[in-house]
Amino acid sequence: MTFDVPNATFSALSCHEAGAWRLAGYSREGHVVSNYKLQYWEPGNLGNRQKNGSADDLDAAVLEYTKYVVYMIELMIANMKGAPAPQTFVVVFDLKGFTPTLIFRKDVRLMIRKLIYVAQSQYPERLHKTLLVNAPFGFESAWKLIQPLLDEKTASKIRFVKVASLKEEIDPDVLSKEYGGNHDEYPLPFSVSS
């Protein structure tokens, strides 16, 4: 399928497994869709290459993650179709690979706070929905820690869904095969030309 992504080009590099977050087409209603795969998120690799467990390592990791979040949201905005198409996005957040210990890491907690802060305060009303899929047993405890960080409006846009339900939001020809659609896995965002 040829998918229309204005002003964007995508990597043909075989680095699918390396990044966690990628653009993944448009929803049935025209929202930009992105797919965040927790299994490919490696917070321990962010920031300084050589780590010594210092506060500087932590700062550098959170700083890179913050830039990553900003970059990805800007990428989604840059790929929104013009009005009257919705100027909001949908995130399919795949929790596969979640381990309960993740949430107890200081760096992860700081990154989650940054993600929420950036999304809520710097890009308000840009999120249409976050669809959480593949929630494993044990995620409930993590969710109880995350939930209070969200404002009411943002929280109301986050839903746990079955993978099969994604087709209600995203056409099968756009939805990745791993979620029951017909589309090959989307590559990482590589560039958006001006």
Binding site: T66, K67, Q122
Partner: protein, 140 residues
């Protein structure tokens, strides 16, 4: 703020599915957002309030010494000229002008510090570990 479970995960019907104690929606009900809302004079009111607050902020400027004032001035002008963004801020802060002003100024400082349009893939080499030296984030 604490929020009820109902607010986070709407309980739709008996067909809601469970994984552990997490409610899962079997049907994706539409989330209400407004992309094009007629906000009349409230945007103009916000712009005036922002400008007033910015002048006061300039006079008392003791915060964010790292950020360049001229850059912030430019970012502020850009932001107050972006009606859609102002409407989003108004909606996010439930049309509380004081809260909106605060958020506008916060966004100005954030953009001055992080320069969202200037972030390149080489700035996030571990987050997106692909080869890219010439990649720029453009605007549609």
């Amino acid at each position: 703020m604490t929020i009820s479970d109902d607010a986070v995960i709407p309980l739709s019907s008996a067909s809601s599915l469970m994984v552990g104690n997490l409610k899962m929606e079997s049907s994706l009900d539409p989330v209400v957002t407004v992309d094009n809302q007629d906000d009349g004079d409230v945007v103009a009111e916000l712009v005036l309030a922002v400008r007033k607050a910015w002048l006061t902020d300039e006079a008392d400027s003791t915060t964010d010494e790292d950020t360049d004032r001229e850059l912030c001035d430019n970012l502020l002008e850009k932001l107050v000229g972006d009606r859609s963004q102002l409407v989003r801020i108004l909606m996010a802060r439930k049309y509380d002008i004081d809260a909106c002003v605060s958020l506008v100024l916060e966004q100005v400082r954030f953009r001055a510090r992080w320069k969202p349009h200037g972030i390149q893939l080489e700035d996030i080499p571990n987050a997106v570990p692909c080869k890219s030296s010439e990649v720029k984030l453009g605007r549609a």
